[in-house]
């Protein structure tokens, strides 16, 4: 294998110095003379109409600039999940403010004031009277024929039926049915939602800053809403304090930009943690019914999956999310018969939406829990069961008819099984369970994959533009939205590798609509695979241009120009060497041309990144506590450009997956619809003390279509954790639990039921 300078080397994160010294500015740290501050007032009804809203007293408070409500803001809708200007959401339901309040805590007003304190005080002085309406808090209630209509168009959005083959006609001697559930979670990005919008009185332009996942999506949403030309709205991504999906929807940007334009001012809004939980989006709660037909020796003949997602009060991205889950069903196993149905249902509860993996967690929990159950019923080891059924590299996945490219499920399973010590641990659990009764030990595993691009759902285009500077260094313009996971570092490494120059000489800023080519944004784990390819192509073409100039300077044909360690020479005369600086000078000074290159690439594949997770748990039958004793995540990553950062990603996936499986849940009061957990006090999340020791393994079988062989990693890391952990708990207890989270009361209840049987 080729030895690279930077690719595959652990070199820490880009911007690490700024972060470790406190110098890096996040959106919340931005301040300027005359900046105004916004605060929102939360509604206090679960479902109802605003009867009256009295802002008189609040308006009189010195320092209050303006108060916004449904009465003085546009009645037009905006789509919070829009990526491109040509996307229209059906149904489009959200406005800045609505007289119709659909969940407890929904914003009813916003105050812009000189300070945060004044804005907060004014919010408290606003008096709102409501006319209450009957509410539908659970999906079950919202699905009833006589359910309160949360939106005119109804509460339910049915996903288009999808599938392949004919499940009903599939032949398999054994039939199985399971049901799985995932609860609502909060992303828990350490930085809450924040946006700043500044109207420039000198030219009528608006600039918006925030930790966004899509600057162009924000721009089209806001500019359309404000009826401004896109060229007059500039959106700049600031350093992001984590997202995990919560920064990919436009929750506050239209409001902040509207106020900035209206007041011709500089306005900032920072959400509190409570607002972050209640007023952005949570992870959907999912109910899945899975049915399959399998031969006696474990060959899968077909699968039928029906899912219901709770959308919360507005559909937003839920119809798309629901559909995507169906699209993921053919990506891991050979299956000739798939039937998918799904729906998302509005309830009078906080909005659910985008979450890391966009459906892979849901598909994997539903299906992998099912296969673990099937394997157990058939008396087949779960690893062996999967080995019989997984797709081979380059196989065609039937839901889209596209290749899975170089996905290595078999390697993930075999290498993972060995490294984890699957057989030995199974035996160890059996032995420990025989020795004593209080603690039950078990092992479990799950397999999945996730995307590396949008292909073939939509054209996946990416562009980059690079300019050699006077001293031979390079500035690259590529709209990266780094979540903190190291994508800027990955791009810099790609450029430095191709141009054989010091990493220090490569400058690359994050996304900015004004001086960068278009990009959809950071979704689908596409950054390194899709944008990385554009950056690599751009750098390669730039080097060709530089070689042409070098040939003219050296007085030889381009074909014999060689480039090594930042120096050009003619192969026939290696003693005369010129640098990138010399080449730039020759280009500008002698030839009268600039040295830059722009490249646009279209990806024509969507390689799956395979992930297998193996875990061993200890369940305390007295307390119901589940402890992960050891676990291993295996990823078929193609090539880890930043191995250190990739391992960090795996760690976070394990942390969040454990949370999903055993402790994290945002509960809603089933009677009142109020969010019961609005802070970290009652939200159980694994800290450094509780986080188990874990192992990581990367299988680096290069993906030929990826830059240096790389594929996506950012999202797949979370998907297999919860079903593997669920399987381990079931192995320990002899249960078939699949409704998450498996909290101590759930475990104790299951043990009690098991004992009664």
């Amino acid at each position: 294998m080729k030895e690279y300078r930077y690719i595959g080397k652990s070199m820490s994160n880009d911007g690490a110095y700024g972060k470790v010294t406190g110098n890096t500015k996040y959106c919340t740290d931005l301040d300027a003379y005359g900046m105004l501050h916004m605060k929102c007032k939360a509604g206090e009804v679960t479902h109802g109409m605003v009867r009256s809203i009295d802002v008189e007293e609040a308006s009189k408070l010195p320092g209050v600039r303006k108060i916004y409500t449904y009465e003085n803001t546009p009645d037009t809708h905006f789509d919070r999940g829009r990526v491109s200007a040509y996307e229209t959401f059906v149904p489009s339901q959200e406005k800045l403010f609505d007289r119709h309040i659909r969940f407890y805590g929904e914003r009813v007003a916003a105050v812009v004031a000189d300070t945060v304190e004044i804005a907060e005080k004014a919010c408290r002085l606003i008096k709102v009277e409501y006319e209450e309406l009957p509410a539908a808090i659970s999906v079950e209630d919202a699905l009833k024929e006589d359910a309160p209509r949360i939106h005119e168009e109804g509460n339910v959005r049915q996903a288009p039926a999808a599938g392949y083959g004919n499940y009903e006609e599939a032949v398999g001697e054994c039939r199985f049915q399971t049901e799985a559930h995932i609860g609502r979670m909060t992303h828990l990005s350490m930085e809450t939602q924040c946006a700043r919008a500044r109207y420039d009185r000198s030219n009528g332009k608006i600039t918006i800053w925030g930790g966004f996942q899509t600057v162009f999506g924000v721009r089209s949403t806001v500019a359309d809403f404000l009826e401004m030309p896109y060229s007059k709205v500039r959106v700049v991504k600031t350093t992001m304090g984590g997202s995990f999906g919560c920064k990919q929807e436009m929750v506050i940007e239209p409001l902040v930009a509207y106020a900035a334009k209206d007041l011709k001012a500089d306005v900032k809004l920072v959400y509190t943690r409570e607002e972050q939980i209640v007023n952005t989006m949570l992870k959907h709660s999912l109910d899945a019914k899975v049915e399959s037909k399998v031969t006696k020796d474990g060959e899968v003949q077909g699968i039928k999956v029906d899912i219901t997602l709770d959308s919360g009060a507005y559909q937003t991205i839920s119809p798309s999310y629901t559909k995507t889950i169906g699209g993921k069903l053919g990506k891991v196993y050979r299956m000739n018969n798939i039937e998918f149905s799904g729906r998302c249902v509005c309830t009078n509860t906080p909005v659910n939406g985008s979450f890391r993996s966009w459906g892979s967690c849901e598909a994997t929990m539903s299906v992998e829990s099912h296969w673990n159950y099937v394997a157990k019923q058939l008396g087949i080891d779960p690893v062996e069961f999967r080995l019989k059924n997984v797709l081979a590299p380059q196989a065609r996945e039937v839901m889209h008819g596209a290749s899975v490219a170089n996905v290595r499920f078999k390697d993930c399973l075999l290498q993972g099984r060995e490294r984890f010590g699957w057989e030995e641990r199974k035996e160890e659990c059996r032995r420990k369970n025989q020795e004593q009764k209080r603690y039950r030990y078990g092992v479990g595993m799950a397999l999945c994959s996730h995307t590396s691009s949008f292909y073939p759902y939509q054209t996946d285009v990416a562009s980059a533009y690079a300019r050699i500077q006077d001293d031979g260094s390079v500035i690259v313009h590529v709209p990266i939205h780094d979540h903190g996971c190291g994508t800027v570092m990955a791009m810099k490494k790609i450029v430095a590798e191709i141009l054989e120059m010091d990493l220090e000489k490569v400058e690359l800023n994050e996304a900015d609509t004004e001086n960068m080519p278009y990009d959809y944004g950071c979704y689908a784990s596409r950054t390194v695979y899709t944008l990385g390819r554009a950056v690599k192509t751009c750098a390669e073409e730039l080097l060709i241009k530089a070689k042409e100039v070098a040939g003219l300077k050296l007085g030889c044909t381009t074909s014999i120009v060689r480039y090594e360690d930042g120096e050009f020479y003619a192969e026939t005369n290696p003693d005369t060497k010129i640098t990138m600086k010399d080449v730039w000078e020759h280009a500008i000074h002698v030839l009268g041309r600039d040295l830059y290159n722009a490249a646009t690439t279209n990806v024509t594949a969507n390689p799956g990144t395979g992930a297998a997770h193996f875990t061993q748990v200890k369940v305390d039958t007295y307390t119901g506590q589940v402890e992960v004793e050891h676990c291993l995540s295996v990823h078929d990553i193609g090539k880890a450009i930043n191995p250190d950062m990739c391992r960090g990603q795996v760690g976070s996936g394990i942390q969040q997956g454990i949370g999903m499986a055993i402790c994290e849940e945002i509960k809603i009061d089933p009677r009142t619809g109020r969010t019961l957990i609005t802070n970290f006090k009652n939200y159980e999340v694994a800290n450094a003390f509780e986080m188990p020791d874990y192992d990581t393994l990367f299988i680096e079988e290069e993906e030929l279509t990826g830059p240096f062989g790389a594929k996506g990693i950012g999202e797949v890391v979370i998907a297999p954790i919860a079903p593997a952990l669920t399987a381990a708990v079931n192995d320990a207890l002899g249960t078939n639990l699949m409704k998450l989270p498996l909290t101590p009361p759930v475990i104790l209840d299951a043990i009690e039921k098991e004992e009664k049987r």
Binding site: S10, Y17, K19, V20, D31, G241, G242, G484, S652, Y694
Partner: protein, 154 residues
Amino acid sequence: MIINFTLNGKPMTVDVPADRRLLDFIREDLHLTGTKEGCGEGECGACTVVLDGKAIHSCLTMVGQIDGCELLTIEGLEQNGELDAIQKAFIRKSAIQCGFCTAGMVMSAKALLMENPHPTEEEIKKAISGNICRCSGYREIKEAIKSVADGEEV
């Protein structure tokens, strides 16, 4: 209220309402924005600073409480252009991702190492158990602190 304290080694006297949150005082009055707010109720650790050698939540502390004390924020660790050993270790061990927890995490680690230069792995875990990091599984962070405790050189 007039309060006297030492900010990152320099004596300061300020007139400030005693009940102002220390976090707001640091971020808004002193313009030291390295200290972050993650939850505002002492559960996430992003706002951790070191007061008289102890790691504290600046969101739960009032300015009046720092009268006569030594306050150390993330901005005070780098000395004469050289990073503190714990800062270097966080970079070396790739313990920084989104960075929003980093300042608080580093300050919790700093307080631990000031009191106990050679903590065990258990002591390290305990010292940062009040600091949430959502981008990692804490492994790189623990390794960074351990490397300083073990005297590992750059």
